[in-house]
Point group: C2
DNA sequence: TTGAAAGCGCTAACAC
DNA sequence: GTGTTAGCGCTTTCAA
């Protein structure tokens, strides 16, 4: 191992007490209740501790005794490191870290990669509660978390009756976006969405798969889009919907390509995240499609990069989500039924959406 | 609190054993050594556990017994949430998370804000080791970490004789940058650097303060710049060096303004980070200074935003630093003396550096 | 102020 | 394959 200040680990609170000829209580008090013993004695205790190389009360033993770990666990289904690539996730983390910091609590990132079915990490986590960030409803790690006898709050997904939740109203958010496009005159569209389940399907999505998606957020957004466009006579079954497992701009590029190959006549490409949309913009450029004249592209999240690109999107308060999740978890207020926090979103009409090409605007009805 | 699957917490391994009429060992084995008991018995144990709402062995008690927490602590001196704002720090985090994930270890973010002198969080952290990321040499949290009897590795700073370290060769890195500028013909320069101590000094920096800076990295970079420019006859005492406590683009803007107000004749502005440099570019634009014709601006780190802006900078492998730090800590290999990992850097000559204005190029000698 | 007693919940030898 | 015995290191009534 890397370094050990004190090669041996001999000194314990008990041995210190013995050395000093006082009780363990006194030593414990020297650290935890300075006012419970004379300054002089306390000084002697601390002094002797230093001499013996006693590093202070062992945190784990203390946790066992006090039944408090002083930390919050965070469960992400993505590879832990992926989270740091996604600006929305980083924003969430920042908010959560903020809340933890305010409360003097640590934040434990639980190593729960999606491929590794190793739920043990969840069992091993010494925490006073969990925050679960956007996982599928059939995630085994989530199941393991829910079995632990500690408070839990879920952010975004899944939606669980009995568990605290913070998120947004995905249906109304994406419906607003759909209306924006419908008003502009789009009715021949394509969709690029994030993974719908734990299985990889980098391909078109059947209606059945849309309906049974294990990611509530994606499922809701697709359903809401279907409803909105059905309202203006679009047969959703004809709309190309492409899914990508990895949440990267590269995915956005290839997915956009797949949609455009299938139906070059679409006038708008709706992406369920900014990252995907940014990739789609790249692909559009590659094909010589002008945005928005030849193709409208939209995202979701409102990350800084999207803002810079002038992307039409739905902004959601990612930092606030993290902070709210942390506060909910750390807030000791007694409460009966599970609490549900729904944060506001905002439609950002950027420079990537506009009226469709004249030709396509001619609408012959369904 | 948020939610409790099992309101009471009655079931323990012992009570389960009692209920089943078997020994605690057997129950323990059912969870930890499935091969140590008959499948039938194991099934019965797990089944009864479910019935009693026993959530499995308590992680803290297990940690106490096994002397393993299954997690690595991360100490950052910045407000924890700040880390998520700095792309270089996020890259480091990603690398570290990667290494932890590979090893199945959790990553505990220790809530150690610089203002709060509350070292308790370090004492409370149930971890098997610490990674310390870029803190001043007089940081009390660092001192607390070093007192804990667990392995520690420091990234970047401070440089400690007896502790494992991963970092870069700051001196040679910035010297390469200085040479680049010197070759272009710059000799009237200004510098913007990050905080040099735990005290806030958003102002010019005396030579004394430069010399005694508590942030080794900044100190080294300034010293190396001084040496390099002294080599071509520049009197370092005349070079305006401005410090900023907060590491933001806004800081870069105001610092650049401060330098340019002091000496409008400088032809190059060296910033010790990309974030600061990006701000400096903004300020230059505000003043109508063309970059690089009127002013050369350089950064340090090589973050993606810098790349996009075409910034002249020094790229350092931030993700690799994180990964290396994690590996060093998690690598159980016996080793005698502390290990030092120095990663390579690369000078990126971007579009923000060029030859100085003709007028300034006339050099009258020292 | 200080001390004695009683575990917190679990695992690891080692014997049966 | 299963049980017995000993703690891991600490905090916390409660009494002195």
């Amino acid at each position: 191992m890397a370094r050990s200040t004190n090669a041996r680990r001999p000194a314990t609170l008990a041995s210190l007490a013995a050395e000093l000829g006082v009780s363990r209580t006194t030593v414990s008090n020297a650290y935890n209740r300075p006012d419970q013993l004379s300054p002089e004695l306390r000084r002697r205790v601390l002094e002797t501790a230093r001499r013996l190389g006693y590093p202070g009360p062992d945190p784990v033993a203390r946790s066992l005794r006090t039944r408090k770990a002083g930390a919050v666990g965070l469960l992400l289904t993505e590879n832990l490191s992926y989270a740091f690539r996604d600006p929305a996730a980083v924003g969430f983390l920042e908010g959560l870290a903020l809340a933890c910091e305010d409360a003097g609590q640590g934040l434990l990132l639980v190593p729960a990669s999606p491929e590794r079915e190793d739920v043990a990490a969840v069992h091993r986590a010494g925490v006073d509660g969990f925050v679960v960030y956007s996982v599928p409803d059939d995630d085994p790690h989530l199941a393991a978390v829910l079995e632990r006898p500690v408070p839990t709050v879920v952010c975004d997904q899944p939606e669980l009756e009995t568990v605290d939740r913070v998120g947004i109203d995905d249906r109304s958010a994406i419906t607003g976006l759909a209306r924006h496009l419908i008003e502009l005159g789009h009715h021949r569209i394509g969709v690029v969405c994030m993974r719908l389940g734990r299985d990889r399907n980098d391909d078109f999505v059947t209606l059945e798969r849309q309906r049974s998606a294990h990611f509530h957020v994606q499922r809701t957004r697709l359903a809401a889009l279907a409803d909105a466009f059905a309202g203006v006579g679009v047969d959703w079954a004809t709309v190309p919907v492409v899914e990508r497992f990895d949440h990267t701009t590269a995915s956005g590029e290839s997915a956009a390509a797949q949609v455009l190959d299938r139906d070059p006549e679409i006038t708008a490409l709706i992406c369920t995240s900014d990252i995907l949309a940014l990739g789609a913009l790249t692909e559009a450029g590659r094909r010589g499609l002008r945005v928005p004249q030849d193709l409208t592209v939209t995202g979701f999240d409102g990350i800084p990069e999207a803002d810079r690109a002038g992307l039409t999107t739905v902004r959601q308060p990612v930092l606030e989500k993290g902070r709210a999740a942390g506060r909910l978890l750390l807030d000791n207020a007694e409460h009966g039924r599970p609490r549900k926090v729904t944060l506001d979103t905002e439609l950002i009409a950027g420079r990537t959406s506009g009226a469709p090409r004249a030709a396509a605007q001619i609408w012959y009805g369904p």
